[in-house]
């Protein structure tokens, strides 16, 4: 499969039009997969809730990039519409999450996500 992938005409990462090197959708999709992975690892590794929010934003942006790429590739505008809705939901999510963090931090001084385990049953 790998040899066919490397030799395939449509599967290259870059295509050259004139003097300009244009990245193909493959390149965009792999980039967004990499971004999503970095965001997921960040959520798993970091313990500051604000940094975890930023990593969630990273994952949302990776998905947005995938939507735009595939929407353009399939000749549909719906990908960009979904990205618009994702932006709205991300904004609402960040606002709610930050207000929760503020109301927690107002009572406790710790800035660590492991300190929030007091609901543990």
């Amino acid at each position: 499969m790998c040899a066919r992938f490397l030799a395939g005409r449509h599967d290259r990462l870059f295509s050259v039009i004139g003097l300009v090197i244009v990245p193909t959708p493959m390149w965009y999709l792999l980039l967004s997969a990499l971004l999503f992975t970095i965001g997921a690892v960040g959520v798993l590794v970091r313990r500051n809730p604000l940094v975890m929010f930023m990593c969630i934003e990273l994952m949302l942006n990776a998905v947005n990039l995938t939507f735009v790429t595939l929407g353009r590739r399939l000749g549909s505008i719906d990908g960009q519409t979904i990205v618009l809705f994702v932006l709205v939901v991300a904004a609402a999510e960040v606002v709610i999450g930050l207000s929760i963090v503020i109301s927690i931090m107002r009572r406790r001084s710790g800035a660590n996500i492991d300190d929030l385990a007091e609901l543990k049953g």
Binding site: M1, P23, P25, M26, Y28, L29, L30, A33, L34, L35, F36, T37, I38, G39, A40, V41, G42, L44, V45, R46, L50, V51, F53, M54, C55, E57, L58, N61, N64, V68, T69, L70, R72, R73, L74, G75, S76, I77, D78, Q80, L84, F85, L87, V88, V89, A90, A91, A92, V94, V95, I96, L98, S99, I100, V101, I102, M105, R108, S109, A111
Partner: protein, 174 residues
């Protein structure tokens, strides 16, 4: 550049530096949106993400005073770092395999699709998005307005300090 910013979000010890790395990544993605004929989304990306959301995050960082460096060398749980790396590598492998396998379908499908953004007027992108949002997906659009109102009301309720329970900030909850 995008990947440098993204890695910076994860590995920077200071949350302020992580937020600024996030700005770098968001601008890079906006540039990629422009490169894919999604100019309206690029503008919205810069305004909403790099403008509003990052400023909000930075404001909360400053408000809470949590901008001291976090100790990244110790694991909170035993083996958490290694497990996270394993999960990340597995996720990347699965996603890459799916992309490589799925490219054929995408290429075949796109041969039948309409090639947008090639020989069109400059405002066609915005016109298409407006027609799609306000005509085809108008219910979802109204639902997002409801969601925003709920988010605003919930934020005000969550962060409002009631006059009856004014207590010192350092007080422990009973």
């Amino acid at each position: 550049m995008i990947l440098v910013g993204a890695i910076g979000v994860v590995v920077k010890r200071n949350p302020v530096h992580a937020a600024l790395s996030l700005v770098l990544t968001l601008f890079g993605i906006a540039v990629l949106f422009v490169a894919q004929q999604a100019e309206f989304l690029a503008a919205v990306q810069v305004i909403v993400y790099a403008g509003a959301i990052v400023v909000l995050v930075l404001f909360v960082i400053m408000l809470l005073g949590v901008d001291r460096a976090e100790d990244l060398r110790t694991d909170a749980l035993v083996g958490q770092r290694g497990l996270a790396v394993v999960v990340g590598v597995g996720l990347l492998g699965v996603l890459s395999a799916a992309i490589v396998r799925g490219t054929d379908a995408v290429v075949t499908r796109s041969a039948e699709g309409i090639a947008i953004g090639t020989v069109e007027a400059p405002d066609t992108n915005i016109t298409q998005i407006a027609r799609s949002v306000f005509a085809d997906h108008v219910v979802a659009f109204e639902l997002t307005s409801v969601l925003l109102v709920v988010a605003v009301v919930g934020t005000v309720l969550l962060s409002r300090r009631r006059p009856s329970d004014v207590r010192p900030v350092s007080g422990r909850p009973s």
